[in-house]
Structure formats: structure tokens, C-alpha cells
Amino acid sequence: MKKTVIKTKDLCKTYVSDGEQFHAIRNLSLEIYEGDFTVIMGSSGSGKSTLLYLLSGLDNVTTGDVWFSDIKIDSLKEKEIANFRRMNIGFIFQAINLVPNLTIFENITIPGYLANKNKKLVDQKAYELLKMFELHELSGRLPSQVSGGQQQRVAIARGLINSPQVLFADEPTGSLNSAQGRNVLDILTNINEGGQTVVMVTHDFKAACRADRILFIRDGKIDGDLELEKFTTDNLEQREEKVFAYLTEKGW
């Protein structure tokens, strides 16, 4: 039996713009399990990003509950939610969002210092991550001085610096070319194999194939939930066919 890390109940998110309401997430209940590589898919505007931001505590819910481990994060105050983010989550953006005036090394370590950890330990962990992602030669550069793929790897390292319970990624390969994208996916698969829980939103079929669970969202609701074996390169073709068939069925 898998352990639940995130659980939502009757989750709703309503945007109000110009007096008009838009229900982006409607009564959504789900569970995310520890150690899983969960991929969220769905058509554009279906509410994927919104869901990810609610699960990770980056945005407030309208109604409904979100439990993260034992913490009910939907009702935390600003200070508490900030503290929660520090300790429990890592987040990777499509737009990467490295801080341009910080060096690669600083970008990675700052969230570590924020979590009030021992500076030495943070630095040590940062060196490990840099090495792992083959970034160690770039540590003194500014984000504008490295390639897009390298930037996204820095972002992953930044997301992992506090050893979060869950690493979230919103279309991490969206702004990368296919080789860079594959490299990022390899890294994510790799760390997942090492036990890291990953929740990723993607449009990319190849990326979806890395999942051991695919959640399909339509109009702010869950419209499908596909379980897969752990990803290996052995039976790749079979796996891709299965995912493709599933997504086609969902009208992707």
C-alpha cells in the first residue's frame, strides 16, 4: 500500500476577473502517493497549472481542503505558508525563473539558507547537485551566461536543495529543445528512482511516458487516472503505445 503525501477534498478554484467568475477547478478530490512520478495532462486551459499551484501551496484555494502530509495547507497564514514552502516543496517553472542577478550557485543556495539550515551543509548539498547535473563549472556565472537547458537544470537543483517531500514541475521542458528536454526528463526520472516524489504538468507525450501515473484533467475535474509500471528503457515502445492509446481515448 502506497503512502499518501497530498490529499484534496472538494477542491475549488474560482477566478474573478471583471466581475465574471470562472471556475478553473471544480470539486476536485485526489491523492498523490509518495515515491510516485505523477504526470498531469489535459488540454490548454483545463486547469492543470492551477491545480499544481494549489497542491504546492503557491496559490490559495477558493473552497475545499488540501492536506500535505499532516498539514492542512489551505488555511495557513502567510508566514506559515512561506515556512511550509521552504521546508516541503520544490518548484520548477516553464519560464525557469532563475533570479538574474544571482549567480548559479547563489540561485541554488538561497532557498537553502532561507530554510535556516547550516550554511556549510547547504553549500555541500549544492555542490553535490551541481556535480550531479554537470553544472559545477558554471557555478559562478549568471543565468544569462548559460544555456536554456542548463538553466532548467539549475532550477531543478534549486528545487531539490531543501530535499523537499514533493518536487513540482509545470511544463519543465516547455521552453527547451528536444535534446535539452530529454536531458531534463532523464534527471527527473533519475531522482524519482532515487525516491523523490515528483508531480509534473506537461503537454509533451514523451514526458508523459516517464510517469508511473497519469492524471487527465478536463474542465477543472479529473477525467482519467492511468497507472503504469515504473519507467525503464527496456519496454519503451510498449509503454509509449499504451500511453498514446490512453491519451487518444481522452481526446488529447
Binding site: R85, T103, E106
Partner: protein
């Protein structure tokens, strides 16, 4: 065209706070500039119109009728074509002081002048309080407005004087504007009496003196007339003279100084305003990068884009400048009202049209051209790049060698605060310059203020000696001779030094080096001048009958320095002196000399200075010393503390200086607030995305605000560290420039450590508040924003 106008308006609306800030900055600059110009251009007018209304004399001369026949002198002047009229009054000069409410008002010479029993057409008076009449009733007096205001004397109050039969009390029945005597800096006091009163009060001593007013139809002829007059009198006039320049100085000095300071600092302010505008436009260009790209791709020409940005700020200035000018109307009104009060006219039309137009043109041109220069960058944007990149590729730097992470103990807000200083260098540099400017102005202000308060404590700087007590034998001195007094003082073991002194005014510097002659006040000492603390800014005090120290103004006017000879008339005789010292002195409106009593004795063998300057030993109480002498000699000897006298002379400077200092502080507090507010707002806008990212990692809004505060606080501290010494360094120079017309070359700076130290928390407080308020925008930033775009 219409589309451009629409975009301009939309942009102003979009950046409402920033537009308001820029408008305010421009308005304050316009206010100061226009106030300064108006003040400079119209400050003379109230005085001129008062002079015209009262048909006042430009030149006053007074002399002893034993020396000249007043009728002859009057006739001579009336015969001249450039003279409109001559008015003569009977005069009695007294140095015995005035008693008011039991207190002796420490004052220099009193001019008792008889108002004739008939209506005069020249030197009319303007009645501020009391009933207008041809002359006061017997037993009553009229006093001048400046004197009444200074001592808060009201109609019906009694003033006491020393007369031939002892003390008399006279009732004040009117307070008048007396054209030549009502100036704030006038140190002669005029008391008007009824006809015949001088004889009654002062007996045979009185009535030998005459004060004569000369009104020119063409005042520019004054130097020639005066020369002709002196030639008519065989070379020199043995009497005293005050001319219109000196009189107007007694009224206008403060306002001229105010105008000068405003001009200087308004230029600083205009430069700051231009910087704010330039930085704001370039940040607006950067954040509108993508939109500009889109505009260009839709067929806007670079010219259109430039006119959008320039138009925006020109429009803002178009609204702000008139607001500032309107504000300056009130400021100038306020300042001139103070002047008008002293002149005694409630109504006065001053025109601000020209200053307003000049201000408008200059500031519009400055704003427009700086906007144009910066906006040209926007016109050069390439659409494809702009749309694809989304934002201008800012050149980020990691702060060069400065690596915040090397510090082991810094927390994250501190690291980010420091990073922001180096990553946005232009802003940081500007805040730094602003902090330096403001803190140095504060330092300047607080120390000048402190020096003004302590002015009277450094008499040497102002040409005074450090006597504590001055004694003058009165008209009732009788058998109290010089010998008795000097003996008594010499034997008194409370006395450290007693010196015979006199402010001798029958002296003038004769015509030389192409400059006409000029009345000067001679400070005469019968004894060691150095021991009395008399200072020179160059050279030394005179030690022999042939030596002289001259005031800075004289040295400039007659182009004389140490070692030169200067010709001076003493009691009608021309005497040559060797200049041994140049001194600064506010006596005689900056025109004075310092000589040995022996120099006068050479001409008038009987001469003895008429006063005694006394310095007491350390620890002796001045008041009980004065009391003991007053008790012993009563009405025969006038004994007063000298401290008050110096205070009287320096008070107008202190009061005027204070108001200037206060105005400066208010304006530059506002400036610093506006600048930092604006810079912080811009920074939040700039860093919006990064702040969102920080929040996604778990930074709180408070931590981000803390980093913003740290940024401005650190820069401010750096600015203050540079600004305070700079302010201290520049203050004496600025004061010298301002006080130049007073013959003051060195301003005695009294540095206040506490006050100077207070500049630090004040600057920090301004910084904290002006960062804290706009940093509230951080609260609205959500990591959710990171997926949009």
C-alpha cells in the same frame, strides 16, 4: 495622432503613483525656482514704493551747527538740479539708553528728533498704530515700527530716558514707519518728539545738531553731488551720512540672502528632478519593452514612440509646473508680507508674470529635453527581439568582487538587499547621490543653525571686542571724571582689563583710487586691542597712531591690502594710515576702521574716548558687578552688559538664518522622500518576477520588504557617511558666499556634534518611511503570477 494621445493618457493612468511622484518633484522644483526668481526681482519694489509714497529722503546727513550753518547747507543742496527736496529736523543724539518696563534696552545711539509743528511734504511717516498727527503732543513720543516690534512696545507704554534733570518718562502715542529708520538691521533708534521738546528735555546741550534729508530726483547722480558737496566744504564733510544703499540693506539683506539660497538649492533640485525623470523613463521603456515592440510591429514609427514617452512627461510637467508656480505665489506672498509688515504697508502688488514665464520655459525645456534624450532609446527597439525576449536584456552583474555569500552569518534578506544594490547600479548611484546631497544639506543646516544661536558668543568674528561690560558717563556725569573712573576700575580686583573705547563716527575714508569718499565708523581703543580679543582675518591690530585695521568691504572697495596706505578724514583733517590688518565687521553695515586713540589725539589734543570697556576676571559675576557700579554712580554713569548688545546686532541674522534653514530642511526632506519612494516603486516593479520566485521558495513578504529596506538603508548610510563631512566642509564656504555683502569672510562655525549626529537617524527615518510605504506593493505579488506571460 489621436492614438498617440490615447496611449499617453493610458500610460499616465497605468503608472498613477509614479506619475504623481514625478509631478510632485517637478512641482517642488518649480516652486523653489519661481520663488527665488520672484523674490530676487520684486523684493526691492515694496521699499521703492514706500519711499515714493512717503517722499522719503535718499541720503541723511547730520552735523553739529557749530561746524556748519544749516541754512547754508540746505540752500546749497536745494540749488542742485538733481535734488528734489531737502528736509531738516532738530536732532539730539544720546547714548544713555532707554528704560522700558524697568529694563534697560541695550541699544546704540538714540536720535531724538523734533517733528516740526507743521505738515511736512518730505519724509512723511506712515502710521501703523496710534493717531495720525502733524507732530506728537508734548510729553509724548513716536517710535519706529522695527523698534516697537523688536521690544513689543505698545501704544500708551512709557519709555524712560536720561534728560538734564534726571530720568523722564514719555508716553508712546504712535508707532510709525520711518523710512530710513525702520529697517530690521538699522541700529540707530529714532524717537520723534513734539516741537520745542529737545530744549525742554536736554537744555543747553541740545539743539546744536541737525539731521537733514536729501531726496534726489535722479539718485544715480549721488556720487557726483556728494563730491561737489565735499568740494564745497573744502574737501570733507565733518558729520555723518547714511545713503540709500545702506538703508535698503537694512531692509533687504535677509530677503536677498533668502533669494540667493533658494536659487542655489533650486538648481540642485532641478538636477535631481531631471535624474528622477530620466531614470523613470528608462525603467518605463524597459518594462514596456514588449509593448513597444508590438507597437513598432504594428506600424508605429520610432518618432511616434519617442513622442509617446516625451509627451507623457511633458504633459505631467505641464500640469506640475503651474502648480509649483502657484505654490511659489503663496511662498513669495508670505515672505514679502514679513517685509511689508516691517515697511508698514499692507497692500502691495507684486507681479510674478516674468518669473513664472521664465520658470515655466526653463523647467519645461529641461524636462522635455531629458525625456527626449532618454526616449530615443525606445525608438531604437527592434520589434522581433522585443516580442521574443519579452523584456529588455538587462545587463546584470553579480556585484563584481563583492560576493555576499562569502559572509557566513548574513541572512537571506540581507544577501538579497546587498545584491539589489549592485544589480541596479544606476538606481543605487542615484539614491546615493541623493542621500549625500540631503545629508550634507541637513548637516549644513543644523550647524549653521547652531552657529547662529551661538553667534553672540564669538564676538571677535563680528568685529566686536570681548568686553563684558560697557560704561558711559552720561550728561549728568558732572564731577565724575575720567581719572576717577579709570582709578576705580584699576583698583577693582574683579576687573581683568579696562580700556577706554569709543565708536567714533566723525570719520570718513577720503576719495581715492577713483572711488568716492565714504563715511565709516571708527572703533577707537586706548590700549591693547589684542587683549580685548579683537581679531583680524589678515595681519594684526594697529599698535601706533599711524596704523589702522580696515574692514573687508573697505579693503575691497578701495583695493587696499596690508602695507598700503589709506587716507582717512578725522575731524576734517586728512590723515594717512598704514594698513596693518584687515578685519571682518558688521559694524557700520560692513564699513568700519579700527584705530588707536592716539591717532585722534594727534588732531584733537583734548580727545579721550567716551566709553570704558571692561573685561572681568574668570568666575566674576557680570550682573553683580554691574549692580555695584549702578548703585555707586547712579545716573552719572551708564553701566550695561555688552553681551546683549552683540546679541541685538546678531539677532536679525540669527532669525533670518533660521527661517532659511527650516525651509531648506523641509524641502529636502520632501525631495529625499520623493526620490526614495519613486526608486523603491520602480525597483518593486523591476523585480516583480524575482520577488514572485522568492515567494515560491518560501520567502515572506516581510522578508522581501526587509531586503528592500536594507538596500536603501545601506545606501543611505553610505551617503550619510560621505554627506556629513561634505556638509561640514562646505558650510563655511557657503556661509561666506551668503554673508559676503556684510563684510564677513569667515563664518564662525560652531559645530554641534549632537545635531550633526542627529542627521543620521533623521535620514534613516526618511529612508525607512519612504521605502516602507511603496514596498507594500510586494504584498500583491504572488508566485501565481509566474505562470502568466
Amino acid at each position: 495622432m489621436r492614438s498617440i494621445a490615447a496611449i499617453i493618457l493610458a500610460n499616465i493612468r497605468k503608472r498613477k503613483t509614479q506619475s504623481i511622484l514625478i509631478a510632485l518633484t517637478i512641482a517642488v522644483a518649480a516652486l523653489m525656482f519661481s520663488s527665488a526668481l520672484s523674490l530676487m526681482s520684486s523684493v526691492h519694489k515694496p521699499l521703492e514704493s514706500m519711499y515714493d509714497k512717503l517722499n522719503a529722503s535718499h541720503t541723511l546727513i547730520w552735523f553739529d551747527t557749530k561746524n556748519y550753518n544749516p541754512a547754508d547747507i540746505k540752500k546749497w543742496w536745494e540749488s542742485r538740479s538733481e535734488i528734489k527736496g531737502v528736509q531738516s529736523f532738530k536732532l539730539h543724539e544720546s547714548n544713555d539708553g532707554i528704560i522700558y518696563k524697568g529694563e534697560k534696552l541695550a541699544n546704540s545711539t538714540i536720535f531724538f528728533t523734533e517733528r516740526p509743528g507743521v505738515q511736512v511734504t518730505q519724509d512723511k511717516l506712515s502710521f501703523i498704530e496710534g493717531k495720525e498727527a502733524v507732530s506728537p503732543e508734548p510729553g509724548e513720543i513716536w517710535i519706529t515700527s522695527n523698534f516697537a516690534f523688536k521690544h513689543n512696545i505698545k501704544i500708551g507704554d512709557k519709555l524712560g530716558f536720561t534728560a538734564k534733570d534726571g530720568k523722564v518718562q514719555m508716553k508712546v502715542s504712535a508707532i510709525v514707519v520711518d523710512p530710513q529708520f525702520s529697517g530690521t538691521f538699522m541700529d540707530l533708534v529714532r524717537i520723534w518728539t513734539a516741537p520745542g521738546e529737545l530744549d525742554r528735555l536736554f537744555g543747553s546741550n541740545a539743539g546744536n545738531e541737525v539731521i537733514m534729508g536729501i531726496r534726489y530726483s535722479d539718485y544715480s547722480k549721488e556720487p557726483y553731488s556728494w563730491k561737489a558737496f565735499e568740494n564745497h566744504l573744502d574737501g570733507s564733510f565733518y558729520g555723518r551720512k547714511v545713503d540709500y544703499e545702506t538703508i535698503s540693506l537694512t531692509y533687504l539683506t535677509m530677503y536677498t540672502i533668502l533669494g540667493t539660497i533658494l536659487i542655489v538649492f533650486s538648481i540642485v533640485l532641478i538636477i535631481i528632478a531631471l535624474f528622477v525623470i530620466a531614470l523613470t523613463i528608462s525603467s518605463a521603456v524597459a518594462s514596456d519593452y514588449k509593448i513597444i515592440g508590438v507597437f513598432i510591429s504594428q506600424g508605429f514609427t520610432p518618432k511616434n514612440i519617442i513622442s509617446i514617452f516625451t509627451g507623457q512627461y511633458a504633459l505631467t510637467a505641464l500640469i506640475a509646473v503651474p502648480v509649483g508656480i502657484l505654490g511659489s505665489w503663496f511662498t513669495v506672498r508670505l515672505v514679502l508680507d514679513m517685509l511689508l509688515r516691517s515697511i508698514g504697508f499692507a497692500n502691495f502688488d507684486f507681479s510674478m508674470t516674468l518669473p513664472a514665464i521664465v520658470t515655466f520655459l526653463i523647467i519645461m525645456a529641461a524636462v522635455g529635453s531629458s525625456a527626449l534624450i532618454i526616449a530615443r532609446k525606445a525608438g531604437k527597439i527592434k520589434p522581433v527581439e522585443a516580442i521574443r525576449e519579452g523584456s529588455v536584456s538587462r545587463k546584470y552583474s553579480n556585484g563584481g568582487k563583492f560576493n555576499a555569500l562569502r559572509f557566513k552569518t548574513l541572512n537571506v534578506p540581507a544577501i538579497l538587499g546587498i545584491k539589489q544594490i549592485f544589480s541596479n547600479r544606476r538606481q543605487s548611484a542615484f539614491i546615493l547621490i541623493c542621500a549625500i546631497t540631503v545629508s550634507s544639506i541637513f548637516t549644513f543646516a543644523v550647524n549653521v543653525q547652531n552657529s547662529l544661536v551661538h553667534l553672540s558668543e564669538s564676538p571677535g568674528y563680528w568685529g566686536f571686542d570681548n568686553r563684558q561690560v560697557v560704561m558711559t558717563p552720561t550728561e549728568n556725569a558732572g564731577n565724575l571724571t575720567d581719572q576717577i573712573i579709570m582709578n576705580k576700575l584699576d583698583r577693582d580686583n574683579r576687573v581683568k582689563q579696562a580700556t577706554r573705547v569709543e565708536i567714533y563716527d566723525m570719520t570718513s575714508v577720503s576719495e581715492q583710487v577713483g572711488k568716492p569718499s565714504r563715511n565709516v565708523i571708527a572703533m577707537v581703543y586706548d590700549g591693547n586691542m589684542d587683549a580685548l580679543g579683537l581679531e583680524n582675518i589678515q595681519g594684526r591690530n594697529p599698535k601706533t597712531e599711524n596704523e589702522i585695521s580696515i574692514s573687508l568691504n573697505l579693503s575691497k572697495e578701495y583695493k587696499k591690502t596690508i602695507g598700503d596706505t589709506i587716507e582717512v578724514y578725522i575731524a576734517k583733517k586728512k590723515v594717512s594710515f598704514v594698513i596693518t590688518g584687515i578685519m571682518q565687521s558688521i559694524m557700520g553695515a560692513g564699513y568700519s576702521i579700527r584705530i588707536e586713540a592716539s591717532a585722534i589725539k594727534k588732531i584733537l589734543p583734548e580727545y579721550l574716548p567716551n566709553q570704558y570697556a571692561v573685561v572681568l576676571k574668570k568666575g566674576e559675576d557680570v550682573n553683580s558687578f554691574i549692580k555695584s557700579y549702578q548703585n555707586e554712580y547712579g545716573l552719572k554713569l551708564d553701566v550695561k552688559s555688552y553681551e546683549d548688545n552683540v546679541k541685538d546686532m546678531t539677532n536679525p541674522i540669527a532669525i533670518g538664518g533660521n527661517s532659511i534653514v527650516v525651509i531648506l530642511c523641509i524641502i529636502f526632506t520632501l525631495v529625499m522622500f520623493l526620490v526614495i519612494f519613486n526608486m523603491t516603486l520602480m525597483n518593486v516593479h523591476w523585480e516583480k518576477r524575482n520577488f514572485g520566485t522568492y515567494k515560491a521558495f518560501g520567502m515572506t513578504s516581510s522578508q522581501i520588504r526587509l531586503s528592500l529596506m536594507l538596500r536603501t538603508v545601506i545606501i543611505t548610510v553610505a551617503g550619510v557617511i560621505i554627506g556629513i563631512p561634505l556638509g561640514l566642509y562646505m558650510a563655511p564656504g557657503i556661509m561666506r558666499m551668503i554673508l559676503d555683502s556684510f563684510s564677513i569672510a569667515k563664518f564662525p562655525m560652531e559645530i554641534t556634534l549632537l545635531g550633526t549626529a542627529a542627521v543620521i537617524p533623521v535620514c534613516l527615518l526618511i529612508t525607512l518611511i519612504s521605502t516602507w510605504i511603496p514596498s507594500g506593493r510586494v504584498l500583491d505579488i504572488s508566485p501565481r503570477n509566474l505562470i502568466v506571460e
